[in-house]
């Protein structure tokens, strides 16, 4: 045997000797993965199951069509109010988020983009009660909107901006550079490339961003306590008229002594969780084609 051949044989032995241990560590990774999967599935089933059992036992069709005051009546005003607030939030966050994302992806320099991204990320991590306090002091008091759809909706909107901006930024960035070059080579200007090409091509991503931000906003409570308060009926005006919403019913009705108030809370939880669940499924379905 030549010297190099005997070295080769030694190395082979060394590598084979470690084989068993590597099989085990390979298995270990999978075991850890399955454990986490099991834990998450269990948690989700427990929460959703709990809400479903309590909610299905209490909910009635009448609750969807009658207004309520958290201890008697139904949920109609809270359901309508929730969507009014979220809609108002979208009016602010959709244009700012979609065009902010476009700016970040296409036109920002390293410096301006970095600063804007940092601000947006900080905004995401501000506790919602602090955002609510800000909304209360600035919108409700200083700008004299009162507890209202405008104050609550705008506060929600501020919270929704980062989600829409960052997700739409990713959707623009995913469009290949050759597509932009082709449009510029045809004589398009930046505005035409943005509006006629990028916005159209990123629509699936933007839709996903909208649905995600809606489902997060619909579940907010703290910032609305300070800005929308609650309303025992429907809200028709923009200012000086509080708004009802589902999370308030959950929070407040559970503190009431009557069984019917508890039933209202469980039903509100069920309505909220199933709507969010539906929105998330819808966003997955829309995003599936991509």
């Amino acid at each position: 045997m030549t010297e190099s051949a005997s070295k080769t044989a030694d190395f082979r032995k060394l590598m084979d000797a470690k084989f068993e241990r590597r099989v085990f560590s390979d298995l270990l990774v999978r075991i850890i993965g399955y454990c986490i999967l099991g834990l998450m599935t269990g948690l989700l089933l427990a929460i959703v199951g709990y809400v479903a059992i309590l909610g299905l036992g209490s909910i009635s069709f009448k609750m969807f069509v009658t207004v309520g005051n958290t201890s008697t009546g139904g949920l109609a005003n809270a359901i309508v109010g929730t969507w009014e607030l979220v809609g108002m939030g979208l009016l602010l966050s959709l244009p700012v988020g979609v065009f902010g994302g476009l700016y970040l992806s296409e036109y920002s320099s390293r410096y301006t983009g970095g600063v804007l991204r940092l601000f947006v990320d900080i905004l995401t991590s501000i506790p919602s009660i602090v955002l609510g306090l800000f909304g209360y002091l600035v919108l409700v008091i200083e700008l004299n909107m009162g507890y209202s759809l405008l104050a609550g909706g705008l506060t929600l909107g501020v919270m929704m901006i980062p989600y829409i901006m960052r997700i739409s930024e990713i959707s623009y960035s995913n469009i290949p550079g050759e597509t932009r070059e082709a449009a510029f080579a045809l004589g398009a200007n930046s505005m035409q490339v943005s509006l006629r090409l990028l916005l159209v091509q990123a629509r699936v991503g933007i839709m996903t961003a909208i649905l995600l931000s809606i489902s997060i906003a619909a579940g907010e409570t703290a910032q609305l306590l300070y800005t929308a308060l609650f309303n025992n009926g429907y809200t028709t005006g923009l200012t000086h008229e509080p708004v009802a919403y589902l999370t308030y019913v959950i929070w407040y009705s559970l503190n009431q002594p009557t069984p019917y108030a508890h039933a209202l809370a469980y039903s509100a939880a069920l309505v909220l969780v199933s709507s969010i669940f539906f929105l998330l499924l819808l966003s997955k379905y829309i995003g599936r084609g991509k």
Partner: protein, 272 residues
């Protein structure tokens, strides 16, 4: 014959590297002028200075002159310049939308057109590009569902739809199979009746088949290879080596194309 584009002492550089230096050449109207050279010789950068697509990359510093109809391209409004000098890319890059919308995209940028005007432009452009017969019954089909060769002809139609005078093609056949490739070559020969064609390629056989004149670009410089004994001069040592290398490169390329051919057959086989 008048020169539609003239390049005078053109240089392009980044902070780190000189991409083109002292390039001078002229492109006569209604001809096919081909720029050949190895990958990385600066061919794509060179033609991108003609329609100022280099403006998209601020780190590129361009000096010297490119004249279009005797006026510097700097003096033109860039959107107008790019309408008049079209570009077809190496990889077919149709927009992910219908065949019709792809071709109509350019005209709609430059003018408000009626539906019937738009129909006419799209039809004419597709006919010019030799694609009309294949797509006329299904203009709403997504362009991404066309074959590679059809996509490239669609990109040619898209470029023709804004009524350019010059059509630049940046290695337009390098990602196509031999049949699609020869269709594009036939198309080039027809197009030079109405347009001035600038072709960039590293395929020396293709250059020989279609060109009226051939420029050799090596290391960012034009090599005057046609002058007697030029390639023998010491400063052209590298260019001579390149000319030798080029023929080998062509051989290697045709092998990889036949590999692609096998791949397609296998795909079809598994589909059946």
């Amino acid at each position: 014959m008048t020169d539609i584009i003239e390049v005078k002492n053109l240089g392009v550089a980044t902070d780190k590297q000189q991409i083109l230096s002292n390039v001078s050449l002229s492109i006569p109207e209604n001809t096919i002028t081909t720029i050949v050279g190895p990958s990385g010789s600066g061919k794509s950068t060179l033609i991108r200075t003609f329609n100022r697509l280099t403006d998209l990359y601020p780190r590129l510093r361009v000096n010297g002159e490119v004249l279009f109809h005797g006026r510097s391209v700097r003096e033109y409004k860039v959107m107008l310049l790019r309408r008049r000098i079209g570009l077809v890319f190496q990889k077919p890059n149709p927009f992910p939308m219908s065949v019709f919308d792809n071709v109509a995209f350019g005209p709609k940028l430059h003018a408000s057109l009626t539906g019937s005007q738009l129909d006419t432009i799209v039809e004419e452009s597709l006919k010019h590009a030799g694609l009309y017969g294949e797509v006329k019954d299904n203009m709403e089909k997504n362009a991404m569902d066309l074959s590679g060769g059809q996509q490239q002809r669609l990109c040619i139609a898209r470029a023709l739809a804004v009524q350019p005078e010059v059509l630049m093609m940046d290695e337009p056949t390098s990602s196509l199979d031999p049949i699609a490739k020869s269709r594009i070559e036939e198309l080039m020969l027809r197009l030079k009746e109405d347009y001035t064609v600038v072709l960039v390629t590293h395929d020396i056989d293709q250059a020989n088949r279609v060109s009226d004149s051939i420029e050799l670009l090596y290391n960012g410089k034009i090599v005057e290879y046609e002058k007697p004994d030029v390639l023998q001069m010491p400063e052209y040592e590298h260019a001579r080596q390149f000319v030798m290398k080029l023929s080998r490169q062509v051989g290697r390329q045709s092998r990889s194309t036949s590999e692609n051919g096998c791949f397609v057959k296998l795909m079809r086989g598994s589909l059946v």
